[in-house]
Symmetry: C2
Amino acid sequence: MRNSTNTYNPHVSVDCVVFGFNGEKLKILLIERTIEEQNFSDKKLPGSIIFEEEDLDEAATRILNELTGLKNIYLSQFRSFGNPNRTKNIRDRNWLERLTKIKIGRIVTVGYVALIKISRKIIFQSENTTANWYDINSLKSFQLAFDHNEIADAALEYIRQKVKSEPSMLFELLPQKFTMTQLRNLYDTIMGTTSDVRNFKKKIMQIEGLEQLNEVQKDVPYRAPRLYRFDKKIYKKSKKNI
Amino acid sequence: MRNSTNTYNPHVSVDCVVFGFNGEKLKILLIERTIEEQNFSDKKLPGSIIFEEEDLDEAATRILNELTGLKNIYLSQFRSFGNPNRTKNIRDRNWLERLTKIKIGRIVTVGYVALIKISRKIIFQSENTTANWYDINSLKSFQLAFDHNEIADAALEYIRQKVKSEPSMLFELLPQKFTMTQLRNLYDTIMGTTSDVRNFKKKIMQIEGLEQLNEVQKDVPYRAPRLYRFDKKIYKKSKKNI
DNA sequence: ACAAAAGTGTTGCCCATACACCCATGT
DNA sequence: ACATGGGTGTATGGGCAACACTTTTGT
């Protein structure tokens, strides 16, 4: 009996497409990859081969925690990618094998979407990785490692669909207190729409747990907008009662 | 440098949740698994370890073709399952190792939904596998191999969601010519609803490519119902023009 | 006073739902 | 003639889209 150790037995990794929102633009978190001897540098999605006794969700949680120090991040698996050619680029292979000290035959990767509040102070500079936020629109002009462009595009399409059926996920991208304009900008940025101010407010305020505060934003050079917050507990309770 | 061959390097498989509809009930296709020396038998989803140079979609296509002889089956990847315990049942391990002649450490599986027209004549009796249709409702009373109950449940939930945004997928489950009652039964079975006859027809007939024929069903002991068909080309063309 | 953005209600239209009776066929 | 399921239209209400002016604040 052969054991599981034939060369073509694929490795399994998890790649995370991490979205953030700075109040104006939708951002994606990319790892800077440098290959020094070639004086080459590009970008890739955060990701890792899964550990021996790790479930997929756990791997995604670990990757994000290692990268950002955060816990309790919104995570959602969206699709797996297993094209045999996805790891055949010679630069990617060399880089991987140098990093992991493992001879890589093939990698099937499970894609996750993560949503994080960009305001949370994040340490992106760990021992050997640097990450930065990039504008979603700039993605087209990057050639990411592996098939990460395809994965990022699929993730974007996925959250577009998902916002329709579960708009409360938007609050994962906003600070604890936010303005209606921020919320609407976020929605429109993701959906590619330009919503009417009044209609948007009417619709969005139907979400249980979203409430207006008796507070306004400070230090703005015009009429101060009111603040809102989203109480996830109230939201979940109301969903159960349906 | 180690090569990829450590014991815990997971295998990757594809499992297919195949749905069919007999005009009344929603069915799922399950493989009969017998372990002779234990005089034991149960059921599992169709699935296989992926081949060396095979993409995930290809693997799913191959599995279904080997099982049914059919090509051009509607397929949609819906989720991957990687709990390290999913292959730890000793019965499952022994069965797998005997079948594959490979020592199995761990398997991450990619779940696909397949929709097939139950009318298509299918050879379910290949050399070493037998498959049968089972009522969806009977799933609860089976204890399937591995975590296949969980996978089947997730698949069912997935198609429920998907029918909402893409109701034309229902036609994959119906014969080329079908009645409005069959279509409505199918919809209601999946969605768990009981639609009003007239309202349902109005809504569904909005789908481009669905057309009423000048033909009725034969050999029915009551007023013969009219037949409909769905033209996928017309449908796709109309979608592009939006 | 002016610039910049926030905030607020009403109307019309369309789509979704509710609902009941007659028709065709086989026994 | 009767039993079985097939087939059809209208009226109503609720939700969504369109739309413009006033308010607040800082300079």
